[in-house]
């Protein structure tokens, strides 16, 4: 089920009503758990079994790890290995199976061995990368001694399955959500209204901006079969840059809003990333729940920055390469992660050599560096969006002026939309770089907030989104 669908509106209304009826707290949580399974199964019912499998395995393994806390480390580690193997086994089979076979085929071919892999007709379960990381974070936290096993299975299952974050995050930690399930919670009137406001904002970003305003231009440029000219290549990439932000941040905002309507707080996943100055700043603002997950469960265990300088760079690159691969089973995603790793390494090197920490002085300097960061991030998006290296090379050639005679691709109306929307996104993000939406709304006249929210809701209604899936569902 997607947030931008009529089915979700009906589903959500029913869930809200049930949650506000005077049932015992356990019954309310049970309702939410069942609703979350319905939410997931509404896409493709059989895949609910995978979710159950992942849930149950980590429930028992975390208890096993905790029970053996006083035994030798090997016992605890073997429990952890089982958890990681099962979770990565699921995701490896469904998400990376075909990719692995193709690469094995290519490797064999390089030795002159012809081998044709069997046809791979496996559907990728929606959100498997997200809920796998959620359950793994639970087991890892218990293993690392950061938290105890959750006492009640209902709280644990709801933590894993809670529908607002289930299929596209934010990737929550047990300590963020489980305590909220342990005591009765009901949204206050203001929480409910603010939650609905965030839901409207998220849907506006997805339906009106990402799908209605930018998707066609990105599709046209990245789907072009021939060379792409300078203006088309840049506008197509900017379109995708805006599309993926509005699509994913829209989902996260809607998730936070839906959850708040039920009385539960989810963490922010985006903080004006296109106003970032530098790449470490970018990753503090983009997909925050993933970047912190990678930091805490991959970068730090690898040694983080505690070893030699060279080792730090290796850890950084490894983390970003695997982060790239997490997004999709393709080498283009690995290159995307690799580029970000390279950017972070270069920035770290420059800062260590110049001794500059934090933002540079001077508004114009900050603006120039923010635009440079944005431009370099756009280069990485080419690899994220293109499905092949040939496709990426075609667009990059255009962006660097190597296709001056290419036929135009984008109709003028698409160019106007991309330019207007991109400029708006950049201006808004720059102005809100150091403030939260809540602070802005607190300062605005109430009638202006109301008028803006009404305009967004009206635009969502008349845009009549076709219920297009969010891009991050495929990850």
């Amino acid at each position: 089920m997607v947030f931008n669908s009529l089915t979700f509106l009906v589903f959500f209304a029913v869930v809200l009503v049930l949650h506000r009826l005077p049932f015992p707290w356990t019954a309310k949580k049970f309702n939410l758990l069942v609703a979350s399974y319905v939410f997931y199964a509404a896409w493709n019912p059989p895949f609910i079994l995978l979710l159950w499998g992942s849930t149950i395995v980590d429930w028992y393994i975390a208890r096993g790890i905790y029970a053996s806390r006083d035994k030798c480390r090997a016992v605890r580690r073997s429990w952890l290995v089982i958890s990681v193997a099962v979770n990565l086994g699921f995701i490896g089979f469904f998400k990376y199976g075909e990719f692995l076979l193709q690469n094995w085929q290519a490797l064999m071919a390089s030795f002159g061995i012809t081998w044709v892999p069997p046809a791979w007709d496996i559907v990728l379960p929606v959100g498997i990368s997200f809920y796998t990381f959620v359950t793994m974070s639970y087991t890892l936290d218990v293993y690392l001694g950061r938290s105890k096993p959750i006492p009640k299975f209902l709280d644990y299952a709801l933590f894993v399955t809670y529908f607002p974050h289930l299929v596209a995050g934010p990737i929550v930690r047990p300590t963020q959500l489980v305590p909220q399930f342990q005591v009765p919670r009901q949204a206050t009137r203001d929480q409910m209204l603010w939650g609905l406001g965030l839901l409207i904002l998220g849907l506006f970003q997805k339906v009106v901006i990402a799908d209605g305003g930018l998707a066609s231009a990105a599709d046209a440029v990245f789907g072009a079969s021939g060379p792409v000219g300078f203006a088309d290549a840049w506008l197509g990439t900017l379109a995708f840059s805006g599309q993926i932000f509005c699509d994913f941040a829209g989902y996260s905002t809607a998730a936070v809003g839906a959850s708040l309507c039920l009385g539960f707080a989810l963490p922010d996943n985006f903080r004006m990333p296109y106003a970032a100055i530098g790449f470490s700043d970018f990753w503090r603002r983009w997909h925050i729940s993933l970047s912190t997950w990678l930091r805490d469960y991959l970068y730090v265990p690898l040694g983080g920055n505690r070893g030699s300088e060279a080792r730090t760079y290796v850890n950084l690159m490894l983390t970003m390469l695997l982060g790239g691969l997490w997004h999709g089973a393709s080498w283009t995603f690995v290159v995307w992660g690799g580029l970000h790793g390279l950017y972070l390494s270069v920035e770290r090197w420059v800062r260590s050599r110049t001794g500059v920490a934090g933002d540079p002085a001077g508004a114009w300097n900050r603006l120039a560096l923010a635009l440079l960061t944005y431009a370099l991030v756009n280069i990485t998006w080419v690899f994220f969006r293109a499905t092949t290296f040939d496709g990426a090379a075609r667009v990059l050639a255009g962006m660097f002026g190597f296709a001056p005679d290419a036929d135009p691709v984008l109709p003028t109306i698409y160019m106007i939309k991309v330019a207007a929307i991109t400029a708006s996104i950049l201006v808004v993000q720059w102005l809100m770089r150091n403030v939260t939406l809540e602070e802005v709304v607190s300062r605005m006249p109430w009638w202006l907030t109301g008028a803006v929210a009404a305009a967004m809701l009206f635009a969502v209604i008349i845009a009549q989104g076709a219920g297009e899936a969010f891009i991050y569902f495929q990850f």
């Binding site: 509404a42 950061r146 135009p408 939309k417 602070e439 605005m444 907030t449 009404a454």
Partner: protein, 359 residues
């Protein structure tokens, strides 16, 4: 317990210090007024409540009737002409059987005939529309229906439910028309493009009203609004499709022959139909896909019967407002004419596989 990361805390979300109650009421009031005004404007432009629209989900509902056996043994496949030019009620009245309408705008019926032959146990009567420039062409067809042959089986409960809720709302709200969405209206602005890019302005705009069982009617505005009519004609005539090559025609004829044979082996049958076109569109079809190279050859090679509108006096004299589709009144006359022919054939030429015997 170790406290290792900043996220390792329970989050309480900040709520703005604003008059959220007043804001909520203002939003509600403004949106109700704006939607009402929008609905009024859309009705003024000719949209009607009850126009259910079409899409992959609507098609999937019909296709699943074939899979489940919930049908009267008659299926129509092909492109938009047979959609607009067939009146399903007239079919039912004349034969006692209501066809399952599986034709799709911009599509060739060939691949759908193959789908029925290969992926179903359908053993009834198939009527397949031949719009020559679409039928003898390889292409993806209408983007809104891309992948529809896989979609109908894979469609999950959420999409199915959403489809039914959407249809329910469409009965009361005229503005719920995906061809008059905000995005479509912006994309339909006429702005000069670079080079030879046609742009979204020169994509087909709304042409139809859609009702139960995917009954299409030519939208009334196409008959009465000159600028919409001229836009549609400009779109049709602006499509510079050249003639198909011999190899493609041969391949399509062979594919059709195979599909027909499979359906006949199960006891069913297939009849082809060429609905009318007119003006510059008809002339281009004559030029690019002349009847003897395409239609006659296919009937001969596949050993099938076909109804070509040129061969029947009572299929003449239609006014086609945008050169390609009949008005809803003419669709009734055309349906009566061709169903009449079918009834005669299946009494006179061979045992009727699905239609009732005449008399």
């Amino acid at each position: 317990m170790k406290q290792l990361h900043e996220q390792d805390v329970v989050t309480e979300r900040e709520i703005p210090r604003a008059r959220l109650g007043a804001i909520g009421w203002l939003v509600l009031a403004l949106v109700v007024v704006a939607v009402a005004a929008w609905e009024w404007k859309m009705r003024d432009l000719g949209l009607v409540a009850g126009d259910l629209g079409d899409g992959k989900s609507a098609w999937a509902v019909e296709r699943r009737k074939i899979a489940s056996g919930d049908h009267d043994g008659v299926v129509i496949v092909g492109g938009s002409r047979i959609l607009f030019d067939t009146n399903l009620d007239v079919w039912a009245e004349m034969t006692g059987r209501r066809p399952v309408q599986l034709a799709l705008p911009g599509m060739s019926g060939q691949q759908f005939l193959r789908d029925l032959a290969v992926n179903s146990r359908f053993d009834g009567f198939v009527l397949i529309d031949v719009t020559p420039e679409q039928f003898f062409r390889v292409g993806r067809g209408h983007p809104a229906f891309e992948g529809v042959l896989d979609y109908w089986e894979d469609e999950g409960p959420a999409k199915r439910t959403g489809h039914h809720i959407g249809r329910f709302l469409s009965r009361y709200l005229a503005f719920l028309d995906n061809q008059y969405s905000l995005t479509e209206l912006i994309d339909q602005l006429e702005i000069r493009n670079r080079g030879k890019i046609p742009g979204p302005f020169l994509r087909p705009w709304k042409l139809s009203e859609n009702y139960e069982d995917r009954q299409y009617h030519l939208w009334r505005e196409i008959e009465t609004n000159e600028s919409l009519r001229e836009h549609a004609i400009r779109v049709w005539l602006g499509r510079g499709l050249g003639p198909p090559d011999e190899a493609l025609i041969a391949r399509i004829c062979a594919d059709v022959r195979g599909s027909v044979a499979m359906i006949r082996a199960r006891g069913g049958d297939v009849v082809f139909i060429r609905p009318p076109s007119s003006g510059g569109y008809y002339e281009r079809e004559q030029q690019n896909t002349p009847r003897d190279r395409t239609w006659d050859r296919m009937l001969r090679e596949a050993d099938v019967l076909g109804i070509h509108f040129e061969d029947y006096p009572d299929m003449q004299g239609f006014e086609l407002p945008e050169l390609s589709h009949l008005t809803r009144e003419d669709a009734v006359r055309f349906t009566r004419a061709y169903v009449g022919v079918l009834r005669e054939w299946y009494v006179g030429l061979r045992p009727p596989p699905v239609l009732e015997p005449a008399g």
